[in-house]
């Protein structure tokens, strides 16, 4: 039997791919949009719906960034409401470990797992910085290594809380009057550098035992964190060779932690453009790129690498010949930086060489170097490509991010999914009811040791 493909849907909120100017674009806040999107994903038998999170409005050069979608609802609240309008779709929420506390987050995920009958997942992220911290009691800045130290201990502590109920404590025996079997149900005690807490957890064990755990970091620390603890990775490596390299790298790390290669799924984010023919899809994809990267967007993107005000430059003209400011990031706040883990001067040199070689303007260059559409073609081409990636271990499946909200998934559900089903690489019915089952992960049953 060929490897089975996992598919999921990312409701595209704040990002630089959503084409909000598209006449088919609707609200990214109204609940009706989420209902439409989630029900399409469930109709297509996707594993789960995914929500990203950002806890402060992004800024550039001291002003709120206004060229992309701005604003999003609260992750937990939307997911819980979606549990009412779907029956089997997994519900994955991105929740930050820097600006939350384990007792509260564990409670929210355990509650979501009960209210959705076993469909909750948590994408543990550690971003960003003091800029975001200005919205929180916790405040302050945590350097990269401490963010992961906190994230790891946060997750360990949350597991201790999830596991503090074994699952058999509720007797609810009206006759004898015994509601719980022991006075110390949910007892926990955690002593560590990040958290020193004790008491009794007040949500009994949830259907999945624990939510499924996702990780989305890409650094060395991030990869180790995923290999030691996560059930799935939301990866940014959606190109074939990069995907295979990442896949191999992370799966090879699992053995160190005594884990099998199928205990961690690699699911890159992927975009797609469909057309009746491959040529038509290519043409649509080109139009989408032009909509995603306006002249202004291109300049603002360039400013993020250059770390300078470039508003005087013409997006249809050549790249600046001054070098990036290598000092502290001060232009862009609250977003994944193009400068992260890279030498900006070297990147600028590469970009200039590329622009010269191909005769590209600033806007054309940005279109060239920023994420292209992952899958472009007729439904047949896209189905074949997705299958090729998965069979070749470039991924275990994809988290699809359509560029139109909320209807951007409809065509995929109607055309690509049936082709994958015909190939025998994709489910025609959900086999289980929990997200853990959709992902083919081992059930936890009652409490297992903290991993």
């Amino acid at each position: 039997m060929p490897k089975q493909i996992h598919l999921a849907a990312h409701f595209p909120g704040v990002n630089n791919t959503t084409v909000w100017s598209d006449p088919r674009g609707g609200s990214h806040i109204e609940f009706s949009s989420f209902v439409h999107f989630a029900q399409t994903a469930e109709r297509a038998k996707f594993d789960f719906l995914f929500l990203a999170e950002g806890l402060r409005l992004r800024e550039q050069a001291g002003k709120i960034y206004d060229l992309d979608v701005v604003g999003r609802p609260d992750t937990f609240t939307v997911l819980s409401a979606l549990a009412a309008v779907t029956e089997q779709l997994g519900l994955t929420g991105t929740i930050n470990s820097t600006f939350n506390e384990p007792y509260e987050v564990a409670r929210q995920f355990a509650s979501l797992d009960h209210l959705s009958a076993g469909r909750a997942a948590w994408n543990v992220v550690t971003s960003w910085d003091a800029f975001t911290g200005e919205n929180f009691r916790r405040g302050g800045f945590l350097p990269q290594d401490q963010r992961y130290a906190r994230a790891k201990e946060f997750l360990t502590t949350a597991f201790e809380l999830f596991d503090s109920w074994k699952g058999d404590e509720i007797a609810a025996d009206a006759g004898s009057g015994q509601f719980v079997s022991r006075p110390d149900v949910g007892a926990f005690s955690h002593e560590g550098p990040q958290f020193s807490i004790s008491g009794q957890f007040n949500v009994p064990r949830s259907p999945q035992g624990r939510p499924v755990i996702f990780q989305a970091g890409d650094s060395e620390e991030g990869r180790e964190f995923a290999a030691s603890t996560a059930d799935a990775i939301f990866s940014r490596h959606s190109e074939f060779e990069a995907g295979r390299a990442f896949y191999t790298d992370v799966k090879d790390r699992l053995a160190t932690y005594g884990r099998s290669r199928d205990s961690l799924l690699i699911l890159p984010a992927a975009t797609f453009v469909l057309g009746d023919t491959d040529a038509e899809a290519q043409e649509i994809a080109h139009q989408v790129r032009l909509q995603q990267v306006s002249g202004q967007t291109a300049i603002r993107f360039l400013e993020q690498l250059w770390n300078r005000d470039l508003s005087a430059y013409d997006p249809d003209g050549p790249l600046p010949d001054i070098d990036p400011d290598t000092g502290d990031d001060h232009i862009a706040k609250g977003r994944a930086s193009v400068r992260m883990n890279r030498d900006p001067v070297a990147v600028a040199r590469e970009w200039r060489a590329l622009a010269t070689e191909k005769g590209l303007s600033i806007r054309e260059l940005i279109i060239e170097v920023t994420g292209r559409q992952s899958f472009v073609g007729s439904p047949r081409t896209v189905a074949d490509e997705i299958d090729r990636f998965v069979q070749a271990d470039a991924s275990d499946g994809f988290i699809l991010v359509p560029h139109v909200t909320p209807g951007g998934l409809d065509g995929f559900a109607d055309t690509v999914v049936p082709l994958l089903q015909e190939k025998g690489v994709y489910r025609t019915e959900y086999e289980g009811t929990t997200l853990r089952e959709h992902l083919g992960l081992a059930a936890l049953g009652n409490a297992v040791p903290v991993g």
Partner: protein, 396 residues
């Protein structure tokens, strides 16, 4: 005859400590979505203004200084905001008011959660804010010490810790409201010509600086349908009247007599005018625990049976009424003369007493012209005749 507002408090199997042992109760279902959606559906069929959903950041305890270690009471519960959100798409009119502890949580998170509850319920969200004095709850967070304050007997109002925690509730609500206002209603412009999705002149930093926290803003969530969801506070005495008067849209007071009801209404009103509130009238609801039956004797028998199962008479922070829906209607109308706008009822056993409220009390009040016969508004503020608040940041 003025009409009363009616709310029902949802708590476990009911508010009586032995409620879960009642033959009608379903004690194994308290953590299921179906249980909560059914209860709220019943309340909505009864045209009630709202349901509150109780919550806490620790295991239920009858002691305030430590977990009580009891195994004969309902223990364990779900997050109330998430429960309300799960129920929202299954209902259309009723207000959803989860409780949330503000002492250990982040106002930024709660603000967007309740704004989102308002979106998923299309304008029916509220929030009951509560402070936590429990040291064992504080240990779940490990960030601050909260020392034990006894609940009964001693007057706790002047205790510096209480003053501090209640002051923090007022700050917290101020931050919630500023965050809800931090987007003007028409901030999203989708101006294709200029490429701007929002007009950043209509997004506002709230720059709150308080004793326990500071918050910069703006919210990540646009202004919710009601502008500001309804803020509710339970107020047992003068220290809490100050919080309710300064911060809440609806106060729930706990009188044990007509005189106490009058004093509570006046107490909240005085605090409200001292705070120079300009956002319309505040509402005050009386809180009552109820055991209902077709006859007085039946209700009293039910209470006696429950008390026997619990091993002690039911004594709680509010008045307990055991009687017929007609007797309850009499009491509600009588105390309304003290200036109460309505009531929150705490059913002894949800499975039984909620139905008595919706199929016994409500028709009785309707006969008397004292309760609505259909929903006339679609938002929670609308049920209370409250206007959609003006945005403090919008240029006039």
């Amino acid at each position: 005859m003025s009409q009363l507002h009616l709310a029902v408090g949802l708590e476990g199997a009911g508010w009586h400590p032995a409620a879960w042992r009642d033959p009608a109760a379903a004690p194994h279902d308290l953590l299921s979505a179906a249980y909560w959606t059914e209860l709220v559906a019943v309340a909505e069929r009864g045209l009630l203004d709202l349901v509150t959903i109780e919550d806490g950041l620790a295991l239920q305890s009858e002691r305030d200084d430590a977990p009580d270690g009891r195994t004969d009471r309902v223990r364990g519960r779900l997050d109330a905001v998430l429960t309300a959100a799960r129920v929202a798409p299954t209902t259309r009119h009723i207000g959803l008011v989860p409780s949330a502890t503000v002492t250990h949580t982040e106002p930024f998170h709660l603000s967007k959660a309740v704004a989102t509850l308002d979106y998923v319920s299309t304008g029916r969200a509220g929030l009951r804010v509560q402070a936590s004095l429990r040291p064992f709850e504080a240990r779940h967070f490990g960030r601050r010490e909260v020392s034990f304050v006894p609940r009964q007997g001693v007057d706790i109002a002047g205790d510096p810790l209480v003053v501090d925690l209640l002051g923090e509730v007022v700050d917290y609500v101020e931050v919630l409201r500023r965050l809800w206002d931090s987007w003007e209603d028409d901030a999203e412009i989708r101006d294709v010509a200029t490429g701007r999705f929002v007009d950043i002149e209509k997004l506002h930093y709230i720059d709150f600086e308080g004793k326990h926290f500071s918050v910069r803003g703006p919210s990540i969530t646009p202004r919710p349908p009601q502008g500001q969801p309804l803020v509710v506070a339970l107020a047992h005495g003068p220290a809490a009247y100050a919080v309710a008067g300064r911060a809440a849209d609806v106060a729930i007071v706990t009188p044990h007599s007509l005189e106490e009801a009058r004093a509570a209404v006046e107490g909240v009103a005085a605090e409200r005018s001292a705070a120079a509130r300009t956002d319309g009238p505040g509402h005050v609801l009386g809180d009552l625990a109820v055991v209902l039956g077709a006859t007085t004797a039946e209700a009293q028998d039910r209470l006696a049976r429950l008390d026997e199962l619990a091993g002690e008479p039911w004594s709680t922070d509010v008045d307990v009424i055991a009687g017929t829906p007609t007797e309850l209607a009499d009491r509600l109308q009588d105390w309304a003369s003290a200036g109460l706008d309505g009531y929150r009822l705490r059913p002894a056993v949800l499975a039984t007493d909620l139905a008595h409220i919706t199929t016994g009390l409500v028709p009785e009040l309707q006969r008397r012209g004292a309760f609505r016969t259909a929903y006339t508004a679609s938002t929670l503020r609308g049920h209370f005749g409250l206007p959609r608040p003006a945005n403090r940041y919008a240029a006039v």
